[in-house]
């Protein structure tokens, strides 16, 4: 399934509000994500949605619930939901929660950041941007690229 077709059929937990939460999460986890245009964001979104759709329903519920918990934590700490936070505040919130004494909270942050990394770095453009050039042709491709 291509990313485009996945985007058309899969949605993130929580509908429109869920999308906004995930985008805020992505921006906090990967600062470069702020510059994603709409098409690139849809690609990241579809990657995350596809990964979630392949997980058991219980895992999908847990992720949806944890994103809601993040929103509540944001309201308690900053008086605004996650999607309305400046990136620096969102990052600070996630950082604090990632050091929680509660394993459940640390696990939640770990899972959320994993999804964000997947959405961002599994895109071919992101791989190119960081200089990742692995190719099936291996050394042959490497030598060719270096000689051109």
């Amino acid at each position: 399934m291509s990313a485009d077709s996945a985007a058309a059929t899969l949605a993130l937990p929580g509908g429109g509000r869920g999308n906004a939460r995930f985008r805020a999460l992505l921006n906090a986890v990967v600062p470069e994500a702020i510059s994603l245009d709409d098409e690139e964001w849809r690609e990241a979104q579809s990657i995350i949605a596809r990964a979630l759709a392949a997980r058991p329903a219980s895992v999908q519920r847990q992720i949806g619930l944890f994103m809601h918990v993040l929103d509540v934590a944001s309201l308690v700490r900053y008086g605004r939901p996650l999607a309305a936070l400046p990136v620096a505040h969102a990052t600070s919130l996630l950082e604090a929660l990632s050091r929680s004494r509660l394993l459940l909270v640390r696990r939640g942050i770990w899972g959320a950041r994993t999804l964000a990394f997947m959405g961002y770095y599994a895109r071919a453009e992101a791989a190119r941007a960081i200089g990742y050039r692995a190719a099936a042709a291996g050394w042959t491709a490497h030598r060719k690229a270096n000689s051109s």
Binding site: A51, R107, R133
Partner: protein, 519 residues
Amino acid sequence: MDGTPQSKQLVIEREYDIVIIGSGAGGGTVAQELGKLVADGRRILVLEQGGRLADHEFTGRELDMSDALYEDAGGFLTADGTMTLAFGRVFGGSTVVYTGTSLIAPKRVIERWDVPMLDHADLERRSRRYMVENNVHYLPDEELNDNNRLFALGCERAGYHAEQFPLNVRGCRGSSLCNLGCPNAAKMGTNRVQLPAAERLGVEVVTRAEALRIEDRVVLARVRERSEGEKGARSEWMPGTYRIRAGIVVCAGGAVGTSALLLRSGLARVVPRLGEGFTCHPAHILVGEHAQPITNDVGHPKSFFLDRAEEEGFVLETCMYFPFVTAKNLTGFGTPHSALMRAFPRLQMILVLACDRAVTGNRITVDGAGRPVVHYRFTDAVITSLIHATRASARIFFAAGAVRVHAPSADPPLVERSQMDEIDALISERHFQTGRISISAAHLMGGCAMGHSARESVTDGWGRVHGVPWLRVADSSLFPDSLEINPYVTVMALADRTAQAVQADAGELLGGRVALTTA
């Protein structure tokens, strides 16, 4: 997953002499060895849960291949969610996704296992045979990339002795994509060597076939349809539920798969230790950042290792992962994490593995739906091993010229070159926080341990399940404790023993009977 058929009319009957469940290092080996019996009229079947991919479907694309080759796309979590377990679910099993590192079990480990009728010399002889069959050899110097050379150099300068991995490749082009399935068909897994040989002998292999439950000389299996867009060929059988009668059943679905299958089949009543003794060499990655670009995403990723298992309980291996997996495995997020990711062309990478031991509580169970649940607690010894491994890795990185090191058990995780004299203080057990550090494992072992009796083990030294003579095991679940090295060669050697015992017992268990039916 309980395997209860919805309607008796939908259950399709089959009969074979021998059914092998799983097609990885264990199942592939048993299939090839027992394939000789087909000439005598025996009917042999291999059931594989995953699909059979064509060569062109190995694209090296990270998410696509993870979905196609791994259970849960490589994201199978332990019960408390603190470790990811990676194991293959494809024609060829985990031999499709390993890096092909081929080592013989250490003598001290086999002696510690204390399995009756299992001696190291026998295991070594069988291991060498499969290493020849799989074209195991050392890569020539000119095919080693900087990531590997720097590890060897760093080890030498830091006073360690790095060893080169023998690899089972033929025509390796250095794609560096081994863990996503070789896109050049160069890795000699069972999908390339033993399974094709078995099929040439007349062994039938059915893919997309999940063994649901084992009853008395019966395997209940479900064959599933290929979903839209999914890689791999359709199953060789029509989708549906099958009841397969078999004179002998050989389980080779891996430590998690075999243990779970036998547990949901009620075998714990016969062998109470079933599922216990799970070990997995818990691992995490470290990266060292160099000032200049190095070759790291080209060339075989895993050419060297440092074996400190006996002295300090850890092994270091060179490695190089893909953007998402790398991002996930680095601790933290935000600006420092992004800066490290942008340094990708300058990153050197080391995988640290702890040589864990079988302890009470680390075990495989099944949930109410029959799905495997892996319970794993990090012992103090494992954490200490990972800390020592991380400190050693940091020294190796700096000795190789790295300007900074990302160490998950440091806080903050970046250790600058100017801090290299403080490594012991900066990298410490107090920063090892599960749920914050990404830990994964790919060497899954135990659950059906070999041993003397049903009181303390599940099988004998030849893979026979205690008290169930027609039921055999031939995979890493047999290990009574961790192996301390990459396990596939040892799995093949043990599977070879299982196959030998099946052949020896075939006359008694199968009689002169030749299966009468019947697809």
